[in-house]
Each structure stands twice: as structure tokens, then as C-alpha cells.
Symmetry: C2
Subunit: 300 residues, 2 copies
């Protein structure tokens, strides 16, 4: 059973108080696909420019990620983001944002992926997310991420999208913004009235919570010794979560709880190195081992 | 097996964005004793003025708390604190602080409590905490809370004290201050080199972590619908933790983990009402029920 992921494929220039890396692989679809590939076959749907050369493709291909849905625009330039983190990794400033080939992007889902039962819409314009959903045949479980920019600037499209979403991934400040509700449990419950049956609220270094029906499930973040680069942590969280659900073929309560813990572990790896570096060398066994350690840290 | 608690007994005037209460019962020893009394016999050691009338004593006595060690200074006034919370309950401003009878306080441990095996030193001047320790006979498990004021203003006395402490309760910013280490796991490990064998770092609404030897244990906060008054949450956390250890008569790894979860639940009750109001009406069954709900929220 495979997972279809649509989202941004990007070059990122990232500055932290101790280091700077230029034009490294990034984007919501990249992080989420790479980590999900440890659990499930993945097909990535996105767009890049001619500057997205073979070396980048091969990083994705080495994880077995299907790139049939990755369009290359002749003469185009890949989406570019430059950002800077402060001493507190939550302080992030966007310095440059160039949409480039994303400005005109219409996703095209490969024929073989249309009947997929698991779909993740990485953070991207909700109109593109809807475009992709329209190509899904049958009754897929739809996971979706979004951000404050879309909540503020495309609220109607986002509301239309949410009616068709099963699991919404959203960070704490965005959950408050979307629901007008400061208390996160109440915010999650309000989000459930907008369409999703599962709300996953991400709190960065403070963990995450899941609200679904009467279920509330809480996970602290996995304590890592040093956060080197938090870029993509949220995408890795969602990718790990969706990849795990796809691998189990269901979303019952027990699977959702384990997915929350798996997702937490996945996000922790991403933060330990720049860009997708730690996701390249990872093994499924590394994930399992850290999951076991994490279980012991949170269970009696 | 009983628990001895020394700390402040106070009148608090508390203002939140929605309500203001005047001269209500407060203080580290009050909150921690009241919640600990649900688990273990408690003897409170502290000092009050003549204004601490029978109505306040009877709140403590109704919980079976031993007040033989609560000194009343003739003509004196009870410790007074006035504070204001912002929209974010973490924003707390101290408006008035009157030490009053605390200025000259020398704790006197009742004869019958000197052989106690469980002692909690609530947040208070480390010199008073040491004074109390000097009266303990035998090998007690010493829990201790402190705050930034003592870390900054009495660092030597605090270091002297820490050498004799088993479990240190400390909040996240204070753990960073004490250890000069921004990463909380590293901060906890550094604190273990100062004397305590167990470091419990409290993160308010973001939960808590325990570091002891190779053990790291993480708890999210219990999600309550509305934080009415966070005053005393940290004291209730420590009181619940120490009361549970005393009731079990040990501090092995399994007991410590359960104590963290019990403590989290205890702190959540305190925040739901002003002052000690919710601790007055509570039953042991209420605590157990919420503990069961909390377990389901964090365990697979």
C-alpha cells in the first residue's frame, strides 16, 4: 500500500548561529517523502526547474521514492527559500522566498497513483492541494499540512479543502489562529468541526497532541542533545505519521497513538543535522531503536 | 511513613485578566502539604503571624496536616505576596512581597518528626532549608525546590545545600541558570554532579522531565480546559511527587516514573481554581481517576 505526497521541492539556504549552508535540498514534499519512505512506498508529486540536477534526484531515488509525478519545467528555476534561525530555534526569519516554477504549478498525479489509499498534502497553496485531491479516485485517507500564510490569505480555499481532509497537521500558533481558540484541546476540537476527523497539533520542542473524537493523545518531543537545524521537522513529523499509517493500512486509535510517537522520533532525526542529511543515512532499525528508547521515556 | 515539609505559609493577593482574589491562603508549604496529604501523613514546618487565624489553620487541619511545627509569632504578620498574571499564565509579575515573620524564621522540627525518612524543602531561603536539614536524624530522602532569586543571590549556600539533596525540583529557566547549560537534558545531568541523584525539571504548561542516572522520563502537562490560577502549580507538583514516594516508601525507577505522572495530575487540579480551592474538595479517587485518564493520553 503506497503513499502519495504532494508539496514543495526546494533549495534552501539556512543560517544558524553556528553555521550556514547554501542551496541544500529542502521542501515539504522532500522531507516528508524521505522519512515516509522508511515505512511505505512513496510517490512524490511536485515541480522543479532545470537546476534540479541528477544529484538531487538521486538522493530521492536512493530512498525508492517514485518521481514519475515530479515535473521538470524547461528553463525554470526550482523554488528557493533562505532563512535564518536565532539562538532560540523557534525564532525563524525568512530572508528570501522565490516561488519560481511553483507559481504556475498544476500537479499531475501519475495514472498508477490515482487509486492510492493514503495521500499527504504537504504545506503548499491550498488550491494546489485541492487540484491534487480532485485526481484521487476512491476513498483515500487524506493528511494535510498548512501554515499561517494560507489561513490568513486563502481562508475560503482552505475551508473548502478542510472538508475533504481526514488528518490535519498544524502547529500550535496556527491552530489558535484557525480556530480563534487559545486552549489547544478546544482548538483541536473546533478543527474537528471543520472536516478533519483527526487534528494533530505540533508544538515544536514541546511535543505534539492529537485530538480525535474523545481521544486526546500527548507526546513530548524526543530530547536531542543539540538542535542543529529545525528546518523540515514538522514535515518529517507528518511524513513519519502518514508513512506509518500507510504501512499499517489503518488509522484506528492504537495505530494513531503509535504514529504520534513514530512521528516524534522521525522529527528528532531531522533536527540533528542540516537539510535532509540525517534522513539519508538513517536505517529503519535506527528509527525502531530510538522509538524503543522514547517509549521507555514516556511509559510506566 | 510520614513526610516533613518546610516552606512558606502565606497570604496571596492574585490578579488574573478575569478575576482578583485578596489575601487567600498560599505559600510553598501550604500547596505542597495539602496535595501530599492525599498520599501520606504530613507535618508542616513554617511560621505565621497572629493574623493567621483559626479559619486558615482549620483548612490545613482538615487535611490531617500536623501543625506542631507551625510557629506563630506573637504580634507578627504572615508572609504576603501580591502578583498579577497576564493573558499568558507564564507572564507573572510580583507587585508586593512582604517577608514579615519569615525574616527572622528559624525552623524548629518537632521531636516526633526528626526521624522522618521523607523530607520536602519547599522554595524558601536555602539557609532555612539547611537549618531544617540539620535537625533531621538518620538517612532521609530529601526533596528540595528553589528559585532564580536564590541561585543569583545565595549561590554558595545553595551549592552547600544541594550536596545534601536527593531530588531537586527546579523549573526550566532556573535549571539553565543553575547549570549554564541551555539543553535541558544536559542541564539535568550537570545538576546531578552537584549532589542530587534525581533532577526534576518543570516546564509549566509544557510538562516536566526527570533525569536520574541513565534514566530520562518525560511527561507532558495534563491538558485542562482553563488555567484559572497557576499559583502553586509547581509546589503541588513537588508535593504530589514527594507524597507519592513517601506513600510507596521507595524511590526506585518505576516509582519515580509514576510519581512524575501523579505530580502532573496534582498540578493540574491546582490550576483549575484560585488559591488552594481545588485542593480542599479533592478526593483521592479524583486524583486516581484523572491519573487513569492521563495514562491513556500518554501510553500506547
Amino acid at each position: 500500500m503506497g503513499l502519495v505526497i504532494v508539496g514543495s521541492v526546494a533549495f534552501d539556504t539556512i543560517e544558524t548561529p553556528v553555521e550556514r549552508v547554501e542551496r541544500v535540498l529542502g521542501g515539504s514534499a522532500v522531507y516528508s517523502s524521505m522519512i515516509a519512505s522508511y515505512f511505505s512506498p512513496v510517490q512524490l508529486v511536485g515541480v522543479v526547474g532545470e537546476d534540479f540536477t541528477g544529484q538531487y534526484r538521486s538522493i530521492l531515488e536512493s530512498k525508492g521514492i517514485g518521481l514519475e509525478g515530479l515535473e521538470t519545467v524547461a528553463g525554470g528555476k526550482t523554488f528557493f527559500w533562505e532563512g535564518r534561525y536565532g539562538e532560540d530555534p523557534n525564532d525563524r526569519e525568512t530572508l528570501v522566498l522565490e516561488l519560481n516554477v511553483f507559481e504556475q504549478f498544476k500537479p499531475l498525479l501519475p495514472e498508477g497513483a490515482r487509486k492510492s489509499e493514503w495521500v499527504f498534502l504537504g504545506n503548499i497553496d491550498p488550491e494546489i492541494q485541492i487540484d491534487l485531491l480532485d485526481q484521487i479516485e476512491g476513498d483515500a485517507h487524506i493528511g494535510c499540512d498548512t501554515m499561517d500564510f494560507w489561513i490568513k490569505n486563502k481562508p475560503e480555499k482552505l475551508r473548502e479543502l478542510l472538508k475533504r481532509v481526514d488528518t490535519l497537521f498544524i502547529n500550535d500558533s496556527e491552530a489558535r489562529l484557525l480556530s480563534s481558540e487559545p486552549n489547544l484541546v478546544k482548538a483541536g476540537k473546533k478543527i474537528l468541526t471543520m472536516g478533519p476527523s483527526i487534528a494533530v497539533i505540533k508544538k515544536g520542542e514541546h511535543g505534539a497532541l492529537l485530538i480525535s473524537g474523545d481521544t486526546v493523545f500527548l507526546t513530548p518531543a524526543y530530547p536531542i542533545e543539540e538542535v542543529k537545524d529545525p528546518t523540515g521537522a514538522g514535515d518529517s513529523f507528518a511524513g513519519g505519521f502518514m508513512g506509518y499509517l500507510a504501512s499499517r493500512g489503518n488509522s484506528d486509535q492504537k495505530t494513531l497513538k503509535k504514529a504520534m510517537m513514530i512521528a516524534t522520533v522521525c522529527a528528532s532525526f531531522t533536527c540533528e543535522k542540516f537539510s535532509v542529511e540525517s534522513l539519508e543515512d538513517l536505517s529503519r532499525e535506527d528509527i525502531e531503536k530510538r522509538f524503543e528508547r522514547f517509549s521507555a521515556m514516556v511509559s510506566l
